[in-house]
């Protein structure tokens, strides 16, 4: 799934940094240029550190405080969405996604 998202984003001209779980993603963000990224897309169910914990951790970083974070997950219950929103997610996309649809959502949440 990560590869497909990466493939879609790279095809649209984005520079992509990947991590296989929340913990790895946090370290990758730290090692990114200027220690910040323009957008974060994360799954909910991940090993080591799940998506909600990752968002909470990311929001504690000054560089990620206002970074748009999209949840891309199979879960669609309102309760889980509420948890995502409370954790600091900007949007919630239920898999499967269409590449064009993902890019459209990204264009909406990315600052102009």
């Amino acid at each position: 799934m990560r590869q497909m998202v990466s493939f879609t984003l790279k095809g649209a001209g984005f520079q992509v940094i990947e991590g296989s779980n929340g913990q790895e993603a946090l370290s990758r963000i730290d090692s990114a240029p200027n220690g910040k990224v323009d957008l974060i897309i994360t799954d909910l169910n991940m090993p080591v550190m799940d998506g909600l914990s990752f968002i909470k951790q990311a929001r504690t970083k000054s560089s990620c405080r206002f970074t748009p974070i999209l949840m891309l997950t199979t879960e669609s219950s309102d309760a889980r969405k509420a948890e995502g929103k409370a954790a600091g997610a900007t949007g919630w996309i239920v898999k499967p996604f269409q590449p064009d649809q993902l890019l459209k959502v990204i264009s909406k949440v990315l600052p102009a």
Binding site: M1, Q3, M4, F7, T8, G11, N45, T74, E75, S76, S77, R80, K81, G84, K85, A89, T90, G91, W92, I93, V94, K95, P96, F97, Q98, P99, D100, Q101, V105, K108, V109
Partner: protein, 409 residues
């Protein structure tokens, strides 16, 4: 055989016999009790005085009657016992039957237990095999997805390059559309062919003029013949003048000199005319040859130009048709590239379904492992064990292409 008994021994014997018979008649417990009581009473009295023998005899009679009554009682008891025994026998038979059935049931239970154990072990093995198969399926599925994604990444990259090339070609063609390169080439080549035709025509004109020169040469040759004739006549006149001058004597000496000079001029005219005639003949021959060559060249040039023009027209037609087809193919290529991009999008969606399937397999995998591990547990323990690794119930299987699956907070 004769047996003698001491006094009172008859009662003892009776007591012993009673001891032997009563238990036999009355049953083990009741008979023994009666016999013991009876022996005790009889023994005690045997040790008493003989004086009381009568009394004892009476008592013995009473006892006899008592024994008779006991016999009757024992008989009734025995009948009752037999009835009880029969009933007990029936009960025992039924009990034996029940016991046999119980044994069979126990055997069946043992067999069932053994089978259950084997089945449990088999279930454990089957679960383990299934878990292994699920693991293999997950691995193969992941590998297939990775491979497919890599292929589609390459395909998409090539499609992008193709699309860019097609777009560039369309752009270039659009920019140069107003100045049709094929038309320009056609015009240039037509101009060249026309020049060749014009040159051939000029050469034909030159050949014609050269024919006129040849004709002039003929006329000159005629004139030179006329000049030669005049010179010959002049020479003849100078000879007549010389003759007349000689006839006139001294008076004709001066005229003789003039006649001689005129003859010389006539000879010179004749020589000059002959030389001119030779030159004109050579000029005539050369001009005639040149005229033939020019005519041949002009004809060949014209034919070549006409042939080249025909070939050129055909070639240009072919090029124009090819260019038209290329333009159409270019448009098709652009459309195909767009279609490839759309197909790649669809495949990306399809691969996500495959990824969802893989996730489900992963959720199945852990419980299967637990079943394999906990095959020997009781159903309750197994249920509790499986409840730990319960499958999430929120995996989406419905797919919509609209924005229903997007929520922005």
């Amino acid at each position: 055989m004769h047996l003698s008994f001491p006094p009172g021994s008859g009662r003892l014997t009776l007591a012993l016999i009673g001891l032997g018979i009563v238990p036999f008649i009355c049953g083990p417990f009741l008979g023994t009790t009666i016999a013991v009581l009876f022996c005790g009473a009889i023994g005690y009295r045997c040790l008493s005085k003989d004086a009381e023998h009568k009394l004892l005899s009476e008592e013995a009679n009473e006892l006899k009657s008592t024994i008779l009554s006991l016999h009757e009682t024992v008989d009734r008891e025995q009948k009752l016992r037999f009835t009880d025994i029969e009933r007990h026998q029936e009960v025992l038979e039924r009990s034996a039957y029940s016991i046999r059935q119980l044994e069979e049931k126990i055997h069946e239970l043992e067999t069932a237990s053994s089978l259950s154990s084997q089945h449990t072990q088999q279930t454990g093995l089957t679960a383990a095999e299934l878990a292994d198969q699920v693991t293999v399926a997950i691995d193969e599925s992941s590998a297939a997805v990775d491979s497919a994604i890599s292929s589609f990444q390459r395909l998409a990259a090539e499609s992008d390059q193709l699309s860019s090339a097609a777009a560039e070609a369309v752009r270039v063609r659009s920019e140069t559309g107003e100045v049709d390169t094929v038309s320009l080439a056609t015009d240039a080549l037509n101009h060249l062919v026309n020049q060749m035709i014009s040159t051939a025509s000029s050469m034909a004109n030159s050949a014609h003029k050269m024919q006129q020169v040849v004709s002039i040469c003929k006329d000159l040759h005629t004139l030179l013949n006329e000049i030669e004739n005049v010179a010959s006549q002049t020479g003849l006149l100078s000879l007549n003048a010389s003759i007349e001058a000689a006839r006139a004597g001294d008076a004709g000496k001066g005229f003789a000199v003039v006649a001689s000079e005129v003859k010389k001029l006539a000879d010179r005219s004749t020589n000059t005319s002959e030389r001119t005639k030779e030159l004109i003949e050579r000029l005539y021959e050369n001009s005639n040859e040149l005229c033939r060559d020019m005519g041949t060249s002009a004809m060949l040039s014209r034919d070549a130009a006409c042939d080249a023009q025909g070939r050129l027209i055909k070639m240009m037609s072919t090029i124009r048709e090819s260019e038209r087809k290329n333009a159409a193919k270019l448009i098709e290529l652009t459309e195909a590239s767009t279609n490839v991009s759309q197909e790649v999008c669809r495949v990306v969606v399809a691969l996500q379904f495959q990824d969802l399937l893989r996730q489900r397999l992963e959720h199945i995998h852990d419980p299967l492992r637990k079943i394999a591990t906990d095959a020997g547990l009781s159903p309750d323990e197994l249920h509790k064990s499986l409840a730990v690794g319960a499958t999430p119930d929120a995996i989406v299987v419905d797919y919509t292409s609209d924005d229903d699956n997007v929520t922005l907070f």
